[in-house]
């Protein structure tokens, strides 16, 4: 199995850490609002692609940037990063918060995104099947919303949680709150999803308690020609829970390759 090497970039004075593994066409993965379980579960993708997993500002080993408080600050941050990495065209995958970000990036820079995977993306306001407001859930009660399989936290979460561990979670919640405290969805997103003209896959666990799978058809209706794949019995942290989720990304992105 491939492993990550870590690269560090100074972007507007903010240290940004990127994990990179494998060779081939670039596949960028934008993570969600927490980094507790890490990204080793994605490594099978490095067998076929150059897998690039950046840590957002304010998450994991990347530095804080209190001025990144808007989805378009994130989007432009990634324009800078992709320039640094000399990436012209990419396959883009985003999970949860990263899915919202990936959708925005692809809508605004459709010429740079060859194929798009939105994995349980955050962002749409769906009144009949609302996203759980995770900022309103006490930290110790959050895990069951993320997964039904608590074993995925083994080795990642100290029991009982140490003050350091809790402070790290608090810091990542703070970074998420900069973006999402005002409202935990994006009121304008639905107007722009028609700009996702690249082949797009919506990937969703049907046991997702954070962002219900019933939102998938709402996204699909707004994105021209989007495919939907649901994963039976899988929760929000789909890539930790399900190898099938990882493989689904690989085969969808791989279809676009001219081998």
């Amino acid at each position: 199995m491939a492993s990550y090497t870590e690269e560090r970039f100074e972007l507007r004075g903010i240290e940004t850490v990127v994990q990179i593994a494998g060779e081939g066409d670039p596949l960028v993965f934008l993570h969600g609002a927490g980094t507790v379980t890490g990204f080793d579960s994605l490594l099978p993708l490095a067998e076929r692609f150059r897998l690039i997993v950046p840590f957002h500002p304010g998450f994991g080993p990347s530095a804080d940037d209190t001025t990144v408080d808007d989805i378009h600050d994130y989007r432009r941050h990634y324009l800078d990063l992709f320039d640094e990495l000399e990436l012209e065209q990419i396959a883009l995958a985003g999970h949860s918060l990263g899915g919202w970000l990936a959708a925005n990036f692809a809508a605004d820079h459709s010429e740079r995104v060859t194929r798009l995977v939105l994995a349980a993306p955050f962002g749409l306001k769906v009144d009949d099947h609302p996203t759980t407001d995770f900022l309103a859930i006490p930290g110790d009660q959050l895990p069951p919303y993320l997964t039904a399989d608590m074993s995925i936290f083994e080795g990642h979460v100290p029991m009982p949680p140490t003050p350091e561990f809790l402070a790290d979670r608090y810091r990542e919640s703070t970074s998420a709150a900069r973006l999402m405290w005002t409202r935990p969805y994006d009121l304008k997103l639905h107007r722009w999803l028609h700009r996702l003209t690249m082949p797009t896959l919506l990937l969703w666990g049907d046991a997702d308690r954070l962002i219900p799978v019933e939102q998938a058809p709402v996204w699909a209706e707004l994105i021209p020609g989007a495919e939907v794949k649901t994963l039976p019995g899988v929760g929000h942290l789909m890539f930790d829970e399900s190898r099938e989720a990882v493989d689904a990304v690989g085969s969808f992105v791989g279809e676009g390759l001219t081998v």
Binding site: A167, Y170, A176, W181
Partner: protein
Amino acid sequence: MNVFDDIQFYLFNHHHYIDEPPDSDRYDSTWVSYPNANFNAEVAHELYQRWTREMLLAEELGFDAIAVNEHHQTIYSMQPATSVRAAYLAALTKRVKILVAGVPINLSWPSRVAEEYAMLDVMSNGRMEFGFPLGTGMEYWSNAGQLNPTTARARFRENLGVILKTWTEDGPVRHDGEFYNYRFLNVWPRPMQKPHPKIYIVGSGSQETVDVATDFRAGYSIVFTPIEQQLKAMANFREAAEAKGWTVQPDDTIFTVICYVADTDEEAVREARPHIEKFFSWMHRVPPQFLSPPGYVSRSEFLRRAQSAALADGTRATWEDMVSIGRIICGSPDTVADTLSHWAQEAQCSRMLMVLQHGDMPEWKAVKNMHMFAKEVIPRVRARSSSGEAAKVLAGVK
């Protein structure tokens, strides 16, 4: 001049909502999410009447000031609009100063707070003082998402700057800030006291509030933390002010003291203890999530709080813990007067914010406590003033 020459006593009353339901154990919070179906307006009306009686009694008994504050969505306080309460009390009093400590200014607009407070100062004939709190973490959960805790501290600084600017500079002036853009900042009325009423930053001792207070050359008022911490924070405040080129005066700091006085130490503890325990276990029942919404404190401050037993929430503390860390002083007039005098001397602080009504304490006890404090403790502390000491010397000569 010693610290006792101008020592002043403020009576503070939480304005609790006292009506604990029989199934109170099942609620994990009495803040933010405590069901307001449990609110009874008749009970609240009686309580407002009672709190008014106690505040007015303070003026009669010779306290120097009365103090009110603001919290939201909680049985802890029935003052979600503290200026309203202050206006009511201003109309019913003649002599006492009124400390409003205060509107968490982030919950309002700075010009509006400047206007409300100026109104109070003019209406009360210049009897107002104002404390500016950031607002507890709970206030950020109790208000619309427009108030993002991640920007609370930056917004607080800007708000405070706007208020002082419009009070002290002749308008209209322009303000171009990160959060507010005033094209014509020009409040009317302006305060009666010049350049403006005495102000304090309300904090719990964190470096962040000390920095704000010293930057704005404001006073510093410490809320419910153990006395040792209050003393430490005051020393820190004093040093930080010196480093910024100004000297803290005795009236620039306010202590908060949870206090009960009776004939003997034993009687004081016996009468007060159940009510003070009720205060911590019921009125102050707050889960950690509400105390620290995301971004309300920095990661390092979060870690400091998570690692410090002394900062752990009072809900779980034992009586012995609370006494030993100096959260509480219960005792005879001599015990209380000696302890307060020691703190005043050590911190060079001449302002004492006295909490004399605790939790579900009945009116008779709170009133008795106020009488004991006013008649037995205040004179004992005041006797340490320069003139008091001189009188003692003279008496000895005779």
